[in-house]
Amino acid sequence: MNISRRRLLVLLPAAAVAWKYVAAGTPEASPNYQMSEHWWGMLIDIPKCIGCGNCVRACQTENDVPDGFFRTWVERYHVTDTNMTNPEVISPDGGKEGFPVAKEDEGKYFFVPKLCNHCADSPCTQVCPVGATFVSPDGVVLVDQTYCLGCAYCVQACPYGCRYLHPKKHVADKCTLCYHRITKGLTTACCEACPTGARQLADLKNPNDPIHEFLRTHSVQVLKPWMATGAKVYYDDLDGSVR
């Protein structure tokens, strides 16, 4: 009598757990897209960027980014040879409408487009208390906006300032690397709109992607490498003054 009751106590919860897994169906998968075959990143070729702001406008159009918030933006650096560590950095309205004309001046200018680095070991996903943000199996950092509480821990945790709280939805919002496009075989909106090819979507698991040849033959760097975030946005010819 006692033994059978103990067995019942052991078996009931086990059966309940098993039933839960049986009840959970198989979620639908994209027809021609295998997540396990991709590992997405981006290449930013700084010497090619002209600061036109096409990428910022394209991103806002494609993703309904609210005014004053940015999933991608462009910064203009002005570094003088007498003060290499304190560059003048401007980004008027995220560079959306371009930049003021720079007159011939001492030092050097360059543009740095920024976006989510889609880190493999991202600090933002680690701090989420409810599992609303995550690195997808194909290496894209995404937000489940139906699950997000809007606590903004992730906004604080991102070392690159790539997240914001959506002013209307009150949930975390960020670059999805145009996940709705890249899973259909298209490139991102910013890459599609870039007139000089300064931004290129890269599939690091595709052996035929030109990114591999580029990485072999160029000096590339990621932003804040000392933070060991596993950033996958590679910058060509990145100046040491960029933060």
Binding site: L9, L12, P13, A16, V17, W19, K20, A23, A24, G25, P27, E28, A29, S30, Y33, M35, P47, C49, I50, G51, C52, G53, N54, A58, T61, E62, R76, H78, G98, F99, V101, A102, K103, E104, D105, Y109, F110, F111, G131, A132, T133, F134, P137, L142, D144, T146, Y147, T176, Y179, H180, R181, K184, L186, T187, A189, E192, A193, C194, P195, T196
Partner: protein
């Protein structure tokens, strides 16, 4: 030993509470949670199903073969259609009822080609006021193949949306 019943009733309460917990958890935790990790696996499919606004240049080139041909021979060969014309997936889906507006070249070209010391030196730049006196760029240049020669000047602004 006759008091052992109290212990069993107490243990029973715990078991019932645990089962209620599992039942409630089964309802409130989404089915795909934990499929790939500590998140809702179904969210990936939802994000992937958002609508596309930029059709992509392959889509444009399917119909506008003449423009694609002109463009492929000129300096704008690697500039995608929607870099200048804007997001036109709606036009690609329904070409007859959604007709795009031609961009104003005086604004559009200046966005990239206005001279600034901040731009890469090799990139072609002009001071628009000095260069054309405010005249639209396409009176001399074909935006799809903007090199300045007699053929492109003779047929300005060929193309655009039909």
């Amino acid at each position: 030993m006759k008091d052992a019943g109290h212990l069993f009733r107490f243990a029973g309460l715990f078991v019932v509470a645990f089962l209620v917990f599992l039942l409630v958890r089964g309802y409130v935790v989404p089915k795909s949670f934990g499929q790939y990790g500590h998140y809702r696996g179904g969210a990936i499919g939802e994000i992937a199903s958002r609508p596309v606004r930029f059709a992509g240049h392959q889509e444009c080139e399917g119909c506008h073969t003449d423009i694609a041909d002109t463009k492929s021979k000129g300096k704008h060969a690697h500039v995608n259609c929607e870099a200048c014309h804007g997001a036109l997936a709606a036009h690609a889906d329904d070409p007859t009822s959604v007709t795009p507006v031609k961009p104003d070249t005086a604004v559009l070209c200046a966005r990239c080609h206005t001279a600034s010391a901040a731009k890469p030196k090799a990139f072609p730049q002009v001071d628009p006021a000095d260069h054309s006196g405010g005249a639209p760029c396409q009176s001399c240049h074909n935006p799809h193949s903007p090199g300045f020669d007699s053929s492109s000047a003779a047929a300005p602004a060929a193309g655009g949306a039909k």
